[in-house]
Each structure stands twice: as structure tokens, then as C-alpha cells.
């Protein structure tokens, strides 16, 4: 456990507050000319995603959380969870299903992701913003109508997730999907 002066906290610092790891999103220094100083921090819980404002006194010491980000490659999933390989040391890390959550829908073999570790334990997987997936099944494509806003469901190869795609898409087409909004972003280059 490491303590640092609150003055050294900046955007991106990871703090340990009430036994939980928090990411500092924003720091505001507040101080009347001759008076007490305060640091108003917007922090995000790295486990629950909750965001809140915390006020610290100037001169206060805060504890940092041992949080690191590592680049990993997704290998496979099994009964214990999702197995990734650390790109630096080639060690395998098993991430429990509850940590991966709904992101499992976009996890394809050999996908490069960022894994957040807290005290060496995985607490968050961050996927690329966009992934390319292949349509495994959808209703037949409507030819020619490439400007259409009309959507239809399509099942993706690999994970079986169903995404809304424009009606001009057909089986075997590769599409780009925003992993945050779970929305179709465009057709991938063939």
C-alpha cells in the first residue's frame, strides 16, 4: 500500500477508497485566496463503474490502488472462465465470466484487449472500440438498397450474438460493430 499527497493525484491516478479501486477522472483544485485548500475529484469505481465526486483536504494523504493495465490476447473460454495470454510474458490469465460480463459477445479468438489487474487479480477487460465479425445467419439481403435505415437481426459467427444490421447485409458479410453501444457501424472491407 502506498500513500501519496493529494497534491500529486492527477487524472488517471488509481486510488484505494473504502477498500475499492477507483480511477481519477478529473481533479479540481478549490481554494479561497487565504484559506483551506480542497481537491474535488471525480472518481470511477473500477469494479462497479460507479462515478462519484470526492472532496479531499489539501495536505491530506491518500492511498493508491495497485492497478495495472496489461495488453492481452484472447485464447479460449472454458468452464473456469476466459483465458487470455499476456503479450509481454506469454503467461496465461483466466478471467472469471462475471468480470467479462456481456463483453463475451464480442470476444473472438486472437483478439487483442486490455486487461486491468488489481493486486494482480483481473477486474476489467477492455475490448477494442470496434470489432469485425462475420454474419453467420440473417434473412436474405435486399439487393441495391445500400442507403437503407431499415434494420434486421443477424447472428454473428464465433459468439452467436445477435446484432441489428441494415437489410442489405447477407450471410458471410463482415461487419464492424461498436462494442460500447453494440451497434452496427458499417461493412468491413472485403
Amino acid at each position: 500500500m502506498t500513500s501519496i499527497p493529494i497534491a500529486d493525484v492527477s487524472k488517471g491516478t488509481k486510488l484505494l477508497i473504502d477498500g475499492q479501486p477507483w480511477l481519477v477522472l478529473e481533479v479540481n483544485f478549490v481554494k479561497p485566496g487565504k484559506g483551506n485548500a480542497f481537491y474535488k475529484c471525480r472518481v470511477k469505481n473500477l469494479i462497479t463503474g460507479n462515478v462519484l465526486d470526492k472532496t479531499f483536504r489539501g495536505g491530506e494523504k491518500v492511498e493508491t490502488a495497485d492497478v495495472t493495465d496489461v495488453e492481452v490476447t484472447f485464447l479460449y473460454s472454458d468452464a473456469n472462465g476466459f483465458v487470455f495470454m499476456n503479450q509481454k510474458d506469454y503467461e496465461q490469465v483466466t478471467v472469471p465470466a462475471r468480470v467479462v460480463g456481456d463483453d463475451k459477445d464480442f470476444l473472438l479468438e486472437n483478439m487483442e484487449c486490455a486487461l486491468t489487474l488489481w493486486n494482480g487479480e483481473p477486474i476489467q477487460v477492455r475490448l477494442p472500440n470496434t470489432v469485425t465479425m462475420e454474419i453467420e445467419y440473417t434473412e436474405p439481403a435486399v439487393k441495391g438498397d445500400t442507403q437503407s435505415r431499415v434494420m434486421k437481426p443477424a447472428r454473428m459467427k464465433g459468439t452467436g450474438v445477435t446484432i441489428q444490421v441494415p437489410i442489405f447485409c447477407g450471410i458471410g458479410d463482415k461487419v464492424q460493430i461498436n462494442t460500447e453501444t453494440r451497434e452496427f457501424r458499417g461493412r468491413a472491407e472485403k
Binding site: 478549490v30 481554494k31 484559506g35 489539501g58
Partner: protein, 297 residues
Amino acid sequence: MSAPSWRPRASLEAQRARAERLQRVRAFFAARGVLELDPPLLQPGANLDPGVQPFAVQPAGSGGEVRFLPTSPEHALKRAVAAYRCDVWALSPAFRAGERGRWHAEEFRMLEWYRLGWDERRLAAETLELLAELTGWEATRGEWLTWREAWQRAGLDPAAIGDGEGLTRDERLDLLYAERVEPLLGRGRWTVISEFPPERAAQARLRPDRDGRPTAARFEIYREGLELANGYHECTDAAELAARQQRELALHPGCQIDAVFHAMLAEGLPACAGVAVGFDRALALALGRPALAEVLW
């Protein structure tokens, strides 16, 4: 590791504006017969102001005598006032540890001056003229509020605020003042705050207000929610000042009293008023820059 960014944050345009405003300040004081001084930066003791943390410096290597960087040029300029018996001003580097934010920096320039025989109201009026010179905004477009009236503007009564939420009363007052009161001050005009409570006197003298309650002869000037100036009808009571400094010393670990400054006070600071203006803040506001860093360096 990428190489550190070596370019100054301030644009060339901002630097030119700074140089030009500095000329205006020089002309302002020259026309008024106030002497420009260049105060020393290594002080034998620390400025001891509430909530302001100085830097202690030492020779590199084997240690040696600790000295203190000024948090404002106050000690040197008051010694000059006492020694030369004339009005003095300086635009001088000031250092405040841990003050890093949009409108705070650990190193900045303080524009400070002293007027012999003046009180804080007369000096506040002159400060408005200086600020008008710096920013181009009319000096006469201003309002005068007491500290209590400033709180009322935010719908708050400082007397009704106690401790709570893990903060002392004093801390809560500062936090509420910074968050709720300050943003309402100086909108589209100058706001001069005066008649501070005695516990917020800092270096100001005390005197009875209209209702006979002791009040601190201190003022602050705000523009667009930002404090730009802080001035006092200076307290000259050496014993009272020594007592205030001893109280503050307890809150400033690692600091020591400036014995040279106190030797001057013991002999007698002449009656005067002094004010410190955040030169960089005024410049940033005047140029419409959204942060201090854009005009500093």
C-alpha cells in the same frame, strides 16, 4: 517514455500581451510616484498565511541552511516601506506548494504595492484603476459588498454554518465560499468584498464596524468569479502580528518565523495599506484565456 514537452504552454501572442501589460503597469506606478523594487527570493523565514504552504529550499548536495521562497513579496516590501518611508511596488515571483489547478499554479507572479498613510478603501479604489489598466474594463463599473453580504447573495448565512461532513467549521466555510459564493462575484463588473470577520484578518488591522463589532480592514476584488486582489489596511501591532504568526506556525510544519521581518515589525511598520494582485490571473481574464497555464509559461 516520450520526451517531456519542452514548449511553453503560453503562446507567443500571450507572451507579447504580457510584456505589453507590464509596460502599462510600469507607467501606472511611475505616474503615481510609486517606486519599483526587485525583492530577494531567498528568505530567512517563511510567510505564514492561512492555507498557504511555502517552499523550503536548501543548497543542493550536503544540505545546509534552509531558506524559504516567498509566497508573496510582502516581507521584503514591508521592510522597504519601514526603511525608506515611501510607496513601493513589485511584480515578483511567488511560490505556493501544492497549488495546482485551472486558476492556481505553484509558481506565478504577484503584483504587490504599499501606500503610506492610506486605508484599505482608498487602496481598493486604486486597485480597481490598476485592474482597469491591465484588463481594459472600466474601473467604475463595480459594486462593494461586505463579506456577510457576499454570503447572502448565495442564500447562505455563515453564522449558521457549523462543522460537519468530516470538515471543521472553518474548512466548510472555505469550501462553501469557493464553491457557492465566489462564482457569483464579479459577473460583468468588479466586486469588492470588505469587512472580513476578525478570524479572517490575515495581516489586516481590526476596527469596529457600524454596529461596533470588530471587523478586519481587508478587501478582495473579484471578476468573473475569480479573486484578483487581496488587500489590507495593514496591522502594525507587532505583538498582535507575532501572536498571529505563532498560531500559523503551528499549522505550517517545517517552517520557521522570519526573524528579520519581525525585527522590522518590532521597530515599527508605518501606517500603510498594501495589496497583492494575481497578475497572471488578471492577464488570463483580460485575454479571455480559460486557464492560468496559458499565460504563465
